[in-house]
């Protein structure tokens, strides 16, 4: 993955310098600033970060779900050669649920409580192609089976409230996939589920991706899920991408101090226990009053190593440190790598 230059052929999805801000009574909420990303067809990109870092707003921007009357949005989003930011609302509408689809943490944000799940799916079919009721129902039933709904021929006439959380999640996935999308954005799709059901859903998404060649953006705060599903990872903090890397590189050679902080904060089952975790001190910044320099500076334990107080005053840029690996940090690359080796060594049980 690259954000600039790059291969001659255009990536399937390319975001350039996206910014989304919401004017509110308390001030301007800078939810997303300077986000640039690209994904090749058929790959899985994970966007990881804590709550409020701008993950969902980025997803909503790609889906054309940002209300242009109340929010300020700039930048470019190119999907398979089409620019989405300036696209008229009716064309965006046609893309949504067709070429691009989205699933959410809460399935009831896609499902209507008063309609049977089958009729909601057939309605989604009819929004994009015309066919008879019988044929549509047959396609809906087939999809419900594919996402692993047991006794789908009976469940198709259930109302959402008659289904368990895991089953509702599957129905939402069936609905998202019904028009064979090329891009699926999954925004924390398993956060509300138990690990056992989460395993089922992740497995389902992976197998459907294999079957249909879908490109997936997986939004999560769980570094375990990222390790499980992602080809590439973008780490978000304070409305910006602070590190991008192929998944293996992000875990083996993370360079941004925030990424290191995340990896040190999580208790994990695959390592020797350490008596204490090493949390990132303090709290995330408010998007209304972001720090003027590096947005992570107030919590960064390494910023005093950078000359002339640059971290306090100058916004670092997202720069390539090795092929496909970009980092937004003022620390010299050699110093970052040394810090990274030291931190990972401690995490691995060394000292």
């Amino acid at each position: 993955m690259t954000t600039s230059g790059g291969p001659t052929e255009n990536p399937f999805l390319e975001i350039k310098d996206l910014a989304v801000a919401f004017p509110t009574e308390d001030g301007l909420v800078r939810a997303v600033e300077g986000v640039s990303l690209s994904i090749e067809r058929g790959r899985t990109l994970a966007i990881v970060g804590e709550s409020g870092s701008g993950k969902s707003v980025t997803a909503q921007a790609i889906m054309g779900l940002i209300d242009r009357k109340s929010a300020k949005m700039t930048g470019e989003i190119w999907l398979d050669g089409q620019e989405l930011v300036g696209m008229p609302a009716d064309e965006l509408q046609a893309l949504r649920g067709g070429k691009v689809a989205m699933i959410f943490q809460d399935p009831m944000s896609s499902l209507h409580p008063f309609y049977r799940v089958g009729s909601q799916i057939t309605e989604a079919i009819n929004a994009h192609r015309k066919m008879g009721a019988k044929a549509a129902r047959a396609i809906a039933l087939d999809m419900l089976r594919r996402v692993g709904i047991p006794a789908a021929d009976r469940r198709i006439d259930d109302y959402p409230h008659q289904l368990s959380g895991g089953m509702r999640q599957r129905v939402m996935i069936a609905m998202a996939l019904i028009n064979a999308p090329e891009l699926l954005i999954a925004d924390e799709p398993t956060t509300a589920l138990d690990v056992t059901v989460q395993a089922q859903i992740l497995e389902l998404i992976a197998s459907l991706q294999g079957e249909f060649g879908i490109t997936v953006i997986m939004i999560t705060h769980d570094l375990g899920i990222v390790a499980d599903v992602a080809d590439e990872v973008a780490v978000m903090y304070g409305g910006r991408i602070v590190e991008v890397a192929p998944t293996g590189v992000l875990y083996a050679q993370p360079e941004m101090p925030y990424t290191l902080g995340l990896l040190s904060s999580i208790p994990r089952m695959d390592r020797e226990l350490s008596e204490r975790l090493e949390p990132i001190p303090g709290n995330p910044p408010s998007p209304i009053s972001l720090p003027p320099g590096c947005v992570f500076q107030p919590r960064c334990t390494y910023s005093d190593r950078v000359a002339a107080g640059a971290c306090l005053n100058v916004r670092p840029e997202l720069l390539e440190t090795s092929a496909g690996h970009l980092v937004r940090c003022h620390l010299p690359a050699e110093e970052r790598r040394q810090i990274s080796r030291d931190v990972l060594n401690v995490l691995a049980g060394g000292s």
Binding site: G165, T196, A199, Q200, G224, P279
Partner: protein, 389 residues
């Protein structure tokens, strides 16, 4: 029954059922939710017992029952030597000095109309205790101790972040220097960097005050970090209970194996080479639990016997309790987590507990009395053990 020396909580055969009412004009009881159905465990002094399980397994009901926030249907609860299930609300007051609770949701657990000082100081007023130096001094010392700015004494909960609100809840819980704190998902709603701060705080307070925790959570990695022993719950029953390292490195119950294998590990090399045991479907209804072993409808080990006979919770090796007719020591290669890493862990020092060590050998199983001996049948054909991809 009383608690043994060094034991702060003893729960015996706890049952908490909720009535299910019809929705008709004259509502009447049509059934029972057996939220907790015969659960027994102890928590030692300065020990943390982790309680894990899927949502709906009855963890919160255990937590609330232990503190009599919901009246148990049956069983005994002994806190610091005193049986409490027969006590009136008034007679429970002295118990509340010894045992406190921390809740999951720092947003709902605090009264928004009270100042932080009022919230943290409430236990003194309720118990009619005048701390040395006065309530304000004591509360500000508590605020300092849990990492809050004592100058924020007069602020309201909505002025604090999620992590800070959880600190408020913790300060209130430790105000009366209790011996036991029941924590119900205390870090589940927090972001990982804040979660780590709170876990460290709870650990430090335990060392400082000799606190015991009953720590309820669904995140297995969090529970491993904080617990000395772990109990695994499913549909109102304990499935397995053992020292921490045994649960994570050498579990025997098929449900524990399934849970552990489902947790994605933050290491792409390990994780992408792992397999999961897929549990089919969801938790059955606790109104109509399966006959025999409640886990049998989702279990890869289940056989005929599991549907007719309830497996008792049996001590298969010292301190390691398992409720299963067909426990499994070894999973097929690639399933589960990297055991070699876990087995080299040092013992747990805080409570003097030692891990029970390796897996149950056939010799150990043979030495069990015949009635307690689980049938050691090899794992069934692997149709339900799937590769990740």
């Amino acid at each position: 029954m009383t608690t043994e020396a060094g034991e702060i909580l003893r729960v015996s055969d706890l049952r908490t059922y909720f009535p299910v009412r019809s929705h008709g004009l004259i509502p009447h009881v049509v059934g029972q939710v057996k939220a907790v159905d015969g659960v027994s465990f102890t928590v030692g002094s300065a020990e943390t017992l982790g309680l894990v399980g899927e949502s709906g397994s009855g963890k919160t009901t255990v937590a609330r029952s232990v503190l009599m926030l919901v009246r148990p249907t049956g069983g005994e609860i002994v806190i610091d030597g005193q049986e409490i299930t027969h006590l009136s609300s008034k007679a429970l007051m002295p118990m509340r000095r010894k045992a406190q609770m921390i809740f999951q949701d720092p947003y709902n657990a605090l009264n928004p109309r009270h100042t932080v000082g009022g919230i943290i100081g409430a236990p003194y007023r309720i118990q009619g205790i005048q701390p040395p130096g006065g309530v304000r001094t004591a509360v500000q010392a508590l605020m300092e101790r849990v990492g809050l700015n004592p100058e924020h004494y007069n602020r309201y909960p909505n002025e604090f972040s999620g992590g800070q609100r959880q600190r408020i809840g913790i300060a209130r819980a430790i105000a009366l220097r209790p011996k036991l704190i029941v924590c119900d998902e205390p870090v589940s709603a927090l972001d990982v960097s804040i979660q780590a701060q709170i876990i460290n705080l709870l650990r430090d307070l335990q060392h400082e005050f000799g606190l015991s925790y009953l720590f309820v959570a669904h995140d297995l990695a969090v529970v491993r970090q904080i617990s000395h022993r772990v109990a695994v719950m499913y549909l109102g029953h304990l499935m397995e209970m053992a020292p921490r390292n045994t649960i994570y490195a050498a579990p025997l119950h098929p449900y524990t194996h399934s849970l552990l294998s489902a947790v994605p590990i933050p290491d792409p090399v390990l994780q992408k080479g792992r397999s999961r045991i897929m549990l089919e479907g969801d938790l059955p209804s606790p109104i109509n639990p399966p006959s025999g072993c409640v886990f049998r409808t989702r279990c890869f080990q289940a056989q005929e016997r599991c549907s007719v006979e309830v497996p008792p919770l049996v001590e298969l090796e010292p301190g390691h309790y398992v409720a299963c007719h067909f426990p499994v020591a070894t999973l097929p290669a690639g399933v589960g987590i990297a055991r070699d890493v876990l087995e080299t862990e040092p013992g747990v020092s805080a409570s003097g507990l030692q891990p029970a060590g390796g897996q149950v050998s056939s010799a150990q199983l043979d030495s069990l009395p015949a009635d307690d001996r689980p049938d050691s049948t090899p794992l069934r054909p692997q149709e339900r053990v799937r590769r990740s991809r």
